[in-house]
Symmetry: C2
Subunit: 235 residues, 2 copies
DNA sequence: TTTAATCTAATCCTTAGGGTTTAGATTTTG
DNA sequence: CAAAATCTAAACCCTAAGGATTAGATTAAA
């Protein structure tokens, strides 16, 4: 797979199960382009070993007592080494996969999968690719898309109220969502403060809220910001 | 691939380029398990054809004048048919891929890819899977992870100020981010209104803001909400 | 061309919100 | 145990914010 003259892929294993740790070690060492340079049975040790051995790949078990894999990945990402983490679990949990990828995992595989999958994942990830087995990819995307559906729904439903605002009222609300008080808004829009108040009161009526904070919250929770950013992106 | 006795995969093509439309049509019709049941050169026509022909797959060009592919996908998803959309573009744009998947595309391929990829995508997506070619998957995830990095950064940076809040102050701020006024907060926390004011003033000092709205905005923009939800999820 | 909507603004009023100080009771921490 | 932090709450002040009405000027729609 890789010339002997090139450096081998350096792997660090993290798993609280010692037997599994040793099993994977044996398995990987069968490959002549991959080396297991260290192993840890908990996340804190792993963090230190990463500094010491500078592996290119970390195989991280997600299900561990004390510090869980997810937190560990986050901390690894923070330490700005260019080590790439592949997450490992026993079961297929879309939410966990989603969160692992979110915090920066470069791959995700199940312990139940064939060892060839693991080896392949290590090789691909070490080349800078992302590796997710077919089945997990689908699970991930279902979760991914679901997490945006609520957002989209909120926007559509809320349009009924936000769409009642006039363009001037939108401008005023926009200012409010930036934390400006009435005097500021008046100055920024070159109108009097009483006019601002009139607009704001109309906004309250239309959005069915009682105060500035509620209006801002309504705007933020119902896609008003994205609307604004959309305009900004266009212009 | 599929028994003749089963119904064929019904595909609708959408592309403003007529030549490309016909090319793909010929290509797909070579497969005996897939049928092109209709074709449209713009998104609006496509929406009507979906209702009429009820395809199982839509091949949607992203780059079209008038109504673009992204908007079209959103509208298709809204109409609650169980048609699955595969997005098509000429170039590899991670942002576009991300947004297409976000609004519900079940697959994404480039026009420059081998036809076998397209056929494979159609078959897999029609089976309920998500199909992204290897290279695009990596691009997607890079974009995906990047989009969360800013969020994470904001949280860490802001922790310096939010972390100065006492637990009671956090509770009060929490109430404020739900749109409650001081009287409400007092009732909800079983303390006097003046106590609430004291807490709020301390919050203002610590967050370096001037009013309630700004405090709420600060909280929302700096990961305070997720912190709250985190606790809720644990308990 | 009227009618309706929008943007502007004033006046008047009331209260909620914001600022400061002081202080007792409780809890945490060195 | 003593010191520090936290939670509680009062009294005081003052202005910004919220509510209502009225109305002129401009603009869009019937």
């Amino acid at each position: 797979m890789m010339s002997e003259f090139n450096s081998k892929i350096r792997v660090l294993l993290v798993d609280d199960n010692y037997d599994h740790l040793m099993g994977v070690r044996e398995l990987i060492n069968l490959e002549n382009d991959i080396d297991v340079v260290a192993a840890a049975t908990n996340a804190n040790i792993a963090l230190n070993l990463i500094k010491k051995y500078q592996p290119s790949i970390v195989l991280m078990d997600m299900n561990m007592p004390e510090k869980d894999g997810l937190t560990a990945i986050q901390e690894i990402e923070k330490m700005k080494s260019n080590v790439k983490v592949i997450a490992l679990t026993a079961y297929d949990d879309s939410d966990l996969i989603f969160r692992a990828m979110k915090v920066g995992a470069k791959g995700y595989i199940l312990k139940t999968m064939a060892s060839s999958q693991l080896i392949r994942a290590i090789r691909e990830v070490s080349q800078g690719k992302i590796y997710l087995p077919q089945g997990l990819t689908t699970g991930f995307f279902e979760y991914f898309q679901q997490s945006f559906k609520d957002e989209a729904k909120a926007q559509t439903a809320a349009d009924s109220l936000l769409s009642e605002l006039t363009s001037r009222e939108e401008e005023v609300l926009d200012m409010l969502t930036q934390g400006h008080n009435y005097k500021d808004v008046a100055n920024l829009l070159f109108i009097s403060e009483t006019t601002v108040k009139t607009h704001v009161n109309n906004i309250f009526q239309k959005l069915q809220v009682n105060d500035r904070t509620q209006a801002v919250l309504y705007a933020l929770n119902n896609g008003f910001v994205s609307k604004r950013k959309q305009r900004a992106a266009v212009g």
